[in-house]
Amino acid sequence: MKGMITGQYINGDSIIHRLDPRTKLLGCFAIIIAAAWPGQQIPILLFNIGFILLIIYLSQVGVVRVLRGLRTLRMLFLLTFICQVFFTPGDSIWNWGGIAVSRQGIYLGITTFLRLVILYLGSSLLTMTTSTLKLTEGLESLLSPLNYFRFPVHQSAMIINISLRFVPTIIEEAEVITRAQKSRGARFDSGPLALRLKTVLALMIPLLAATLQRATDLALAMESRCYAGGQSYSRESSMVFTWKDGIALGILVTIFLLPVWYGYVN
């Protein structure tokens, strides 16, 4: 593999790693609400970012590495910023041949950027400190009330688990196929667009074929080990929600949701 995927799980034994996955899921949910809530002010958003960075520091996955991951999203940041700046009506502070920049536009551009950063940092924190198995275990537990409505919670969790598990495998396979086709002169990164699109087929067809084959094999392997899904299915270790989790969740909810509540009341 060329590099690590942004947000890839990093094995560790920090306080954050040891938290119950449900705590982390709910905490991440609180962060998402804080980031998406309309009318959040810049200082609060900055404070949120600072606080998440502190948690990342505590989790020992490397603050610099996480921040470096922001670079992969730079086009998204730039595009949303430009859209917000130029397409928000308001008090014009700069008019240039019909293209107007408004004060509100700049403000919205900056807050949107900060919101995206919060979303990225929050979700990275979750996936970098929680293994996919724990993640789906937590998700299954949190969604279990839906069982009363006959929603297939266990099956959904298993689907999510398997998809997350195979992301690195498929990426690795895509890289091998890309190299193999390059060895036959396929050009993925140069040449006219039409040709490049055609070249992508040389990657997609074998990749899809291999993935379908793998899915069939996996299903067969699971069945031959008597997997049937559903209720009668236990785990090797069960999750424990300790007082530490209570405190962590309390802090997260206070930090991220108090400003939201305050803004709502006023």
């Binding site: 590099g3 690590m4 094995n11 190299r179 036959r184 002169g185 074998p206 291999a210």
Partner: protein, 286 residues
């Protein structure tokens, strides 16, 4: 001048992450035009990483790789390297994507800019070379073929480009004996007919030893032995190399030498081993 030359080639995967791994550690070898070189080593010894440096897919973290006297880290040069160095990956049949065998084998040739009548000749020639009947298989869908035949098609798609260097990563793994023979025969013929340099990774050491001129032995990214096969095998002693990689009759020869018998350890085949044992039995009047 050697066609491939590596100097202190070191390759580190995922530099600067917790998953950092040194796959190659100061490997220096040189391969001449027309030579048949075998690479052996256990899983994770860096074999596949090494060969991907030969056509510029991977670039050294430190050290250098020269192909045809030019540095692969020069981008202008490494971009065109695929024409010169044909690389057959492990399980190449998994990279097949065209709807007919003909188109699959023609893919590389089209990318080289060859014209259609030429391509047609070349494809037919190469299919025959790997032991397939062009008239029978050319129009078939690769999916309708058996695993072994698909492998032959995939190897043909690289061979058709007539690279100066042919690099193969375990081309016979998982093939039945007849498929295996077809593939080996085609490789050998190509080497002899066009003076192609062949570099081949294989776990079937007893088979590889009979084919090659030179051997490279890797262990955990380090070059354990390198040179003419007779010298490499002769000086391999059972203490400093994991026995696993040698076929049992060669291990027996080395063990006999360890016990003080005057036995020639520089042999390659079972027949030679049998003759050696017969000679020792006669000499010691047992």
């Amino acid at each position: 001048m050697p066609i491939i030359e590596t100097k202190d080639l070191t390759h580190v995967y995922l530099t600067g992450t917790p998953y950092e791994k040194k796959a190659l550690d100061k490997v220096s070898i040189s391969i001449n035009q027309g030579e048949f070189v075998g690479i052996i080593g256990g899983n994770g010894s860096g074999k596949s990483t090494l060969i991907q440096h030969f056509n510029g897919l991977l670039l050294p973290t430190s050290g250098s790789v020269l192909v045809g006297g030019e540095d692969t880290s020069v981008k202008r040069y490494s971009k065109e390297l695929w024409k010169k160095v044909g690389l057959v990956f492990q399980f190449p049949e998994q990279q097949i994507f065209k709807s007919t065998v003909f188109e699959e084998v023609a893919y590389g040739l089209k990318n080289m800019g060859m014209n259609l009548p030429e391509i047609k000749n070349r494809v037919e020639e190469t299919l025959a070379q790997v032991g397939l009947n062009p008239r029978e298989v050319a129009h078939l869908s690769p999916l309708s073929l058996s695993g072994g035949t698909r492998r032959q098609v995939a190897i043909a798609s690289i061979m058709a480009m007539r690279p100066a260097v042919l690099v193969l990563d375990e081309p016979t793994a998982g093939l039945d004996p007849s498929g295996c023979n077809h593939v080996i025969k085609a490789i050998k013929e190509m080497q002899q007919e066009y003076n192609t340099t062949v570099v081949m990774i294989s776990h079937y050491v007893s088979q590889l030893i009979l084919l090659v001129d030179k051997l490279v032995i890797l262990e955990q990214g380090r070059l354990m032995a390198w040179g003419n096969k007779r010298e490499v095998i002769q000086h391999m002693n059972s203490h400093n190399l994991s026995d696993l990689i040698l076929p049992d009759y060669l291990r027996l020869m080395h063990h006999l030498a360890d016990y003080g018998y005057q036995v020639n350890t520089g042999i390659f085949s079972v027949e030679e081993a049998a003759r050696e044992i017969g000679r020792i039995l006669k000499e010691s009047h047992l």
